[in-house]
Amino acid sequence: MLRNGAMAWYHKVPAPKLPPEARKSRMEGLWIKCDGCSEIIYKQDVEKNLEVCPRCDEHFPLPVRRRLDLVLDPGTFDECDLGLETTDPLEFSDSKKYKDRVKASARASGENEAFVSGLGRLAGREVSIGAFHYGFMGGSMGSVVGEKVTRVFERATERRIPAIVFSASGGARMQEAIFSLMQMAKSAAALARFRRVRQPYISVLLDPTTGGVSASFAFLGDIILAEPKALIGFAGPRVIEQTIRQKLPEGFQRSEFLLQHGMIDAIVPRRELRDRLSQILGLLG
C-alpha cells in the first residue's frame, strides 16, 4: 500500500582510476558508491561482508535466501508452501495487468512471491521461519504472502516451536485490495492461536517495514528486533509529509528513532543477528 523511495541503496559507478597492477585484479569487478559514506567501494567486499558497507556499516538489502543462510544451520532449511499463486480476484489492471506484473517481478527477482517460508534449525533448535523478499513487488502483502505468513504461525503452533519472521515490505498489496487488507487480520488471528503454545515469536524488522505489514504481525513479536537504520512505520514518510506539509525530522522512522521511542526491543547489526536470535531462543524457548 505504501511505497518508499527512501531506502538505502547503492549505485553502480564506473571504476576509479587505479594503478595498472591493481586494475588487473579488479577489472572484472563492479564498483559501487555507498549511500552511507559516499565512498566508492569494491562490490565483492560488500558481498563478502553480508551486504554491509565495510567502511561505514551501512546495511544494504540482503537477498532472502542469503538471509536464511545467514541465520539457519547449514542445509537445514526445508521450504514449504511452494507454488502458491494469486488468483487475481479483482482482475486488477493499471498500466499493466496485475498477473503480468507478478510474472515480471518473478523473472526479475528470481522468487515466485514476496515471501519465503519453511522450517529450519537455528543453533540446533527447530524453528518455523519466514522472510520477505523486498525485490518482489516491494515486498507487498497479497493473499499469497498473507497465507504463507499465516502458515508460519500455524506450523509453529502444531509443532510447538518458535516462530521467526523477517519483514521488509511496503505494506499491503493494492492489486488485491480488500483481500490484502484481510491478510492483516488473518495473520494476527493465527498469531493469537500460536500464543497458547507459549513459544517465542521473534519479529525482525528490516529496511523498510511499513503499512499493513508493520501494523499486523511485524509489530506483534514477543521480541521485536531491527537492523540498523531501517525505515519502520505505519504511514510512509512521503504520505506524512504531504499530510502535515512540513519537513520530517532527521532520522524519523528509523530503527534508532523507534528504539528511543520504546517501540522495539533492540537494534541488531547483521553480523550479530544469528547469535542474538540463538541467545533469545535459548532464554525463552
Binding site: 499463486e85 498500466s95 480488500i178 511485524a218 505505519f234
Partner: protein, 337 residues
Amino acid sequence: MSTYALEFEKPLLELEQKLAELKRSAATGTALEPGDTLDSEIRRLEKRCAKLQQEIFAELSRWQVVQLSRHPNRPYTLDYVQRIFTDWIELHGDRAFADDPALVGGFARLDGEPVMVLGQQKGRSTKENILRSFGMPRPEGYRKALRLMKLAERFDRPVIAFIDTPGAYPGIDAEERGQSEAIAVCLEEMAGLEVPIISVVIGEGGSGGALAIGVCNRLLMLQYSWYSVISPESCAAILYRDSSKGEKAAEALRLTARDAYEMGIVEELIEESPGGAHRDPAVTAQNLGLALRRHLRELRDLGPKGLVDDRYAKFRKLGPVTEPRPEPASPLRRETD
C-alpha cells in the same frame, strides 16, 4: 444541517425544491391556480421526484458511492448511538497518554441489553473535524478501543463497532507513539475476544485504520459505504501518480459495499433510506438496528469459545490462492531389475 448537494443529487434536489414551493403556496392559499389543478400538479411532481431518485440511484458508479459515503450530512457513529441505543455513557481515554476524539466508545443498551459501542467519529463542522482529525484515530484512539473491548469482555458484553474512517492518522506524533503497534494489537486481541463482535462500515472503511476495529464475527456494511486497503485518492497517487484520478482507482479497487458482499467479505448489506442515509437517518438507523438485534441473537448461542472459533474461521478463509496438489508418489522403477 448544511444544504450541501453532490453533483448527481442536484437535479433531484431542484425538483424537490419546486415541489416544496408548490406545497407552500397551496397551504398559504397564495397560488394563482384553482385548488384542484394545484393538487394534481403536486401529485405529478411527487411521482417525478420518486422516479428521478430511483433512476439516479439505480446505477451509481463506484465513485458516486464514495461521494455518498463522505456526504457531510451523513449520519456518523454518535448519530446511530443516539438513534439505536439507550442509556449511553461515553468513556474516555487510553489510560496512558490521551483521549482521542476521533474514536469514541462507551456502554449503552440495545433493547435493554447492555453492549459496548465504539467507532470512529467525524466532525460536522470544520472546527469539530479538526478536533476529531476527520475521523482518523491516533494510537491512543486504538488503545482506548482496545481497553473498552477488554472491559466489555470482562463483563460479558457484546461489542458493536462502527467503522467510518479514511484511514489511521498519518502524522509525526502518531508514528512516535506507535501507530503500527496500536493497530496490530487491536487485530490480535479482537481475534481472541470471547464476546460477540459486530462491525458495521457506516461510511468509509479505509485500510488498517478501519480494520483495527473490524476483526468481528459479523461484518455489515451500509449500502453506500466503501471498504478497502487504501483510499481511492491515495491509490491513484501511487498507481497513476495523480491523486485526482480517484474515480478510476475506485473502479479498479472494487471498493463498494456491494463489491465486498459479492467477494464474500461481508455478511449483510444494510439498506439505506432512499437517496442515501443522509436523506433520512431515522429509516437508516431503524434498518441497522433491526440487523444488529438479529445478528446478536444468533451469536449469543455460540458461547465464548465458539465465538473465537467462528471469527477465526471467517478470516482464515479470506484470500484466494491456488496451490499445486502434492505430487502423487510415483511407483519406483528400479534400473537394476
